[in-house]
């Protein structure tokens, strides 16, 4: 039987870049086919070609053995191809059923929307594929995982047989990801075919039937989870051997560096974001803060680094009170901060790499003499950093905005790690990065720990937390609901805590409190 989808020799060129180089890919009916590759390998370009957003320069697409021209997303939908994007295309104030029928409304007498009929159809699809979504619920009230299911229902409603999922687990908790994998298997068992785009090896091993690895626009090979292991896949992705586990020598924790006592912080919406949090981080120790995004981690980090005023409690750095200190003061005391959102907080994208490398030290010698910047010294130091941290840039005078995400992150790491520091606050340091860059940044963080630096690592990636931390604090709704020793913690245990399920019997999920804030 012919494969349901066949891509032959797909080639797509952009000015100066060969994004896809004669890519062949075949998808069997009822198969989950993982497309694995680093960021910038060409996965998304290929899928955009398939979905009609780009026209290929060469090659052809066959659906069920027949050649099709896909010139727009509506051509793709007509050919039975549907795509769930990383960013959902849903209208929050519409119900699930309304979102699903949008563009293909069910009508009564030709003009009136037939909500009841639409809800019935959505419910049918939802039960048949175990998608469990309430058709009459408003999308804005649904958790992210359920919103994603609504996107899938949308495709099924349009009779898509080929589903493309673009990095679907990026926004999910571990439990939600497991849910999704169940749904994917259920879809596949009923004849739907799925292309699953990811750069996470573990997921590929868990869920895929076949795996195609792309590197630099070319297919490196196709394999199955039985034939390959994670190390092999990583090697195919990066083109060299990758250390998946960080080598972490025994912990030798010293004196407390960062002490947080009864800290209260309000969110932008004046709600309690950090609720009576206390902990300490000692020299030579990595404290991992786990939690689903939006449970107060952002505000906690901002309070510690001086970017957000706290509403109560105390923060001490090396025994000195920094509760009300400015970001510059805290930086000068030997604190480094890898911010959560590198493009918003970490870099000035229109500035050169050299200028970004001195963003927090430009006013100090040797980079400034009096008020005058010393361009020579800035440039010389930039060249050193670039080679030391292997930042892939055409030169120090290239703007930071033109670098890839991984290299932008390396600029931040190079800047923050090359000062003498006692505390490192790393917030999602590997967000959106590929395996090679993750390996590199993890190794650097562990190296800082070995040098006696106290490290506060905040990440929603459970694997990252478990791999690097010496102790793990789990945040849920602004509170630390568990403090575990990393040697004894299991993924399941931490995952449950992240969902707010504490082991003690009778513990109730906490409600968000309004806080009276006077400005």
């Amino acid at each position: 039987m012919a494969p349901i989808l066949q891509l032959q020799g797909i080639t797509k060129r952009f000015p100066g870049v060969l994004a896809n180089d004669h890519i062949d890919l075949s998808l069997e009916e009822g198969e989950i086919h993982a497309l694995l590759g680093e960021n910038g390998a060409g996965k998304t370009t290929l899928m955009n070609v398939l979905y009609g957003l780009y026209q290929p320069d060469e090659g052809e697409i066959q659906v069920r053995g027949r050649r099709v021209e896909v010139r727009s997303p509506s051509d793709a939908i007509a050919a039975g191809i549907g795509m769930v994007h990383q960013h959902f295309m849903l209208i929050p104030v519409f119900t699930v059923a309304e979102n699903v029928m949008l563009g293909q409304e069910v009508l009564r007498q030709g003009v009136f929307l037939d909500r009841r009929e639409a809800e019935k159809r959505v419910a049918e699809i939802s039960t048949r594929f175990q998608l469990s979504a309430d058709p009459s619920a408003y999308v804005r009230d649904l958790p992210v995982g359920v919103q994603q299911r609504v996107e899938i229902i949308k495709l099924l409603y349009r009779q898509a047989d080929i589903l493309i999922l673009d990095e679907p687990t990026a926004v999910l908790t571990p439990q939600e990801s497991d849910e999704l994998f169940k749904i994917m298997r259920s879809l596949a068992s009923q004849g739907k075919s799925i292309i699953f785009i990811t750069h996470k090896l573990r997921e590929v091993m868990d869920v895929a039937d076949r795996i195609t690895v792309i590197r630099q626009g070319r297919v490196v090979g196709t394999t199955t989870p039985n034939q390959a292991d994670r190390a092999k896949l990583a090697q195919m992705m990066v083109g060299r051997d990758v250390l998946l586990e960080v080598e972490k020598p025994e912990e030798k924790a010293g004196d407390p560096v960062l002490q947080v006592e009864h800290l209260m912080v309000a969110s932008d919406r004046r709600q309690v974001a950090v609720d009576d949090v206390s902990f300490e981080v000692r020299a030579g120790e990595i404290l991992g803060v786990a939690g689903v995004q939006g449970n107060g981690q952002t505000e906690l980090v901002e309070a510690i680094t001086g970017m957000r005023a706290s509403r109560g409690g105390k923060i001490h750095l090396l025994g000195r009170d920094i509760t009300r200190a400015s970001p510059r003061k805290i930086t000068e005391m030997g604190s480094a901060h890898v911010p959560e959102d590198r493009q918003r907080d970490g870099l000035v994208l229109s500035f050169t790499v050299a200028d970004n490398l001195v963003l927090s030290t430009y006013y100090l010698p040797p980079f400034a003499r009096g008020p005058e910047l010393q361009r020579g010294a800035i440039l010389a130091s930039a060249n050193e950093r670039i080679s030391e941290f292997d930042i892939r840039t055409p030169g120090p005078l290239t703007t930071a905005g033109s670098l890839s995400g991984g290299n932008q992150q390396k600029v931040i790491v190079a800047r923050e790690f090359s000062r003498p520091i006692h505390l490192l606050v790393a917030s999602q340091p590997t967000r959106g990065l590929d395996v090679g860059s993750i390996e590199y940044i993890h190794a650097r963080i562990v190296q800082k720990r070995q040098e006696g630096c106290a490290v506060l690592l905040v990440s929603p990636e459970l694997d990252e937390i478990l791999e690097l931390s010496d102790r793990i604090a789990v945040m849920y709704r602004g509170q630390i609901v568990g403090m575990l020793d990393a040697d004894e913690a299991t993924k399941k245990e931490v995952g449950l805590l992240m969902a707010g399920i504490t082991p003690e019997p009778g513990a109730k999920p906490r409600k968000k409190r309004k806080v009276e804030v006077t400005l």
Partner: protein, 424 residues
């Protein structure tokens, strides 16, 4: 990859070019320069072409000629447009024939008169340089200073007052004092909206517009009362003392004065400030990405107040220049919208001091030539305004030019300040 440290000092010109073109260094210098200049040049050319159409459409001569026949009409159209642009050229640059004969005759007066159009263009460009630098400095700091016009007025008031009220000082002291007074006046007018923005978040666009109205009425009131020339019925201030005048290089009627060179010097200072000092680094960081600036420990409050004050000081110097260099007194409505044109030319110059000077020269030249066009070719001044407006529209909206000439999209770095408009 090149990774050896190279702490050598680079040539000023090379640095300037790099800052101006701001592209990745692996692209050749010529290509980068062409990329930067292509759109403004095409915008000017397109504006002139379309302007020519307006000149033709509004000329009675052309309609009369079309009445006589198609070819006659087309010929006259070209003639009318050509005559208008010839007048624009001789009015702003000079008449080549006249320059050559004057040089051959060796008559000093004739030579000066022959070169007067281009000198007059420089005179007209000078307030644009100051004003454009002021607005550009605001842009670089993420602030949209609409208040340049008001700051020009307050600067002019302060300079005029210092110019006629301080007596008995030698020029070497009086002139710098008067310049300083003008800069301080403008700075005060910029400081207020800057401080309001930093402390309360009140948007600088609204507050600078309001400050404009206050400045206009303040100047009206002062000129009808406290600063009115005692022996005059007109609302004009007393004439400033000769010691406060920006000296002229030639005798009447050539008005070319020191202000032009002061403006170039100030442009260099602004460049040095923005790109070579820690203060400028602060300002540009806050302007490009306030979150990252805060993260890096910079104070947005300080930077906002400083930027608005400096922006106001530069605009104030534009007014000062007109009082001390051209008019020698303060009159009502002495500024014909320099402050507002400055916004456009700061955009045209991509908020870079070098770009601003070039844009100011273009504006001054056009404005000076336009006067001549009106006199010599009988083109209504309104048409000239339309011409300027069209050139500006094309420049301010490069997407139009790119679409017309099917140019490729620019790099991301080119749209530095558009992201900060209206943002907070």
């Amino acid at each position: 990859m090149d990774s050896k440290p190279k702490p050598q000092r680079r040539k000023a010109g090379k640095i300037l070019l790099e800052e101006l073109t701001g592209g990745p260094p692996e692209i050749s210098r010529g290509r980068r320069l062409r990329r930067v200049l292509l759109v403004p040049i095409l915008a000017v050319v397109t504006g002139l072409l379309l302007g020519g159409l307006f000149i033709i459409l509004t000329s009675e001569e052309v309609y009369a000629a079309f009445g006589r026949g198609l070819f006659d009409g087309l010929g006259t159209s070209l003639l009318v447009a050509g005559r208008a642009y010839a007048a624009l050229f001789t009015g702003s640059i000079g008449d080549p024939v006249r320059i050559v004969t004057a040089l051959q005759s060796g008559d000093a007066l004739a030579i000066r008169r022959a070169f007067n159009p281009i000198l007059e263009s420089l005179v007209a460009s000078t307030p644009y340089i100051f004003g454009g630098l002021g607005v550009a400095l605001g842009f670089q700091s993420g602030l949209f200073n609409i208040g340049a016009e008001g700051q020009i007025f307050v600067g002019a008031i302060a300079a005029a007052f210092a110019g006629y009220s301080l007596t008995g000082l030698p020029a070497i002291i009086h002139l710098p004092l008067a310049l300083l007074a003008g800069a301080l006046g403008g700075a005060a007018w910029g400081f207020i909206p800057g401080w309001l923005k930093a402390k309360t978040g009140g948007h600088e666009v609204i507050n600078t517009i309001m400050m404009n109205y206050i400045a206009f009425r303040l100047s009206d009131w002062l000129l009808s009362g406290p600063m009115k020339r005692p022996d005059s019925f007109n609302p004009v201030s007393p004439t400033i003392l000769p010691t406060a005048e920006l000296p002229r290089f030639f005798e009447q009627p050539i008005r070319f004065h020191l202000g032009f060179f002061v403006a170039l010097g100030v442009a260099w200072l602004v460049y040095w400030f923005l790109y070579r000092t820690t203060w400028g680094f602060d300002l540009r960081s806050v302007g490009s990405n306030p979150s990252a600036a805060r993260y890096a420990g910079m104070s947005t409050v300080r930077s906002t107040v400083l930027a608005m004050s400096l922006s106001g000081a530069l605009a104030g110097l534009a007014g000062t220049n007109e009082v001390l260099g051209v008019n020698h007194n303060l009159a009502m409505a002495f500024s014909s919208g320099y402050g507002f044109d400055s916004i456009a030319l700061a955009l045209l110059g991509k908020s870079h001091p070098v770009g601003v000077v070039l844009a100011a020269l273009l504006f001054g030249t056009l404005r000076n030539g336009a006067t001549r066009m009106q006199v010599a070719a009988g083109i209504p001044i309104d048409i000239i305004s339309i011409l300027q407006a069209m050139i500006l529209a094309f420049i301010a909206a490069p997407a139009i030019i790119r679409t017309i000439y099917r140019l490729r999209e620019p790099d991301k770095g080119e749209q530095i300040f558009t992201g900060t408009w209206g943002g907070g």
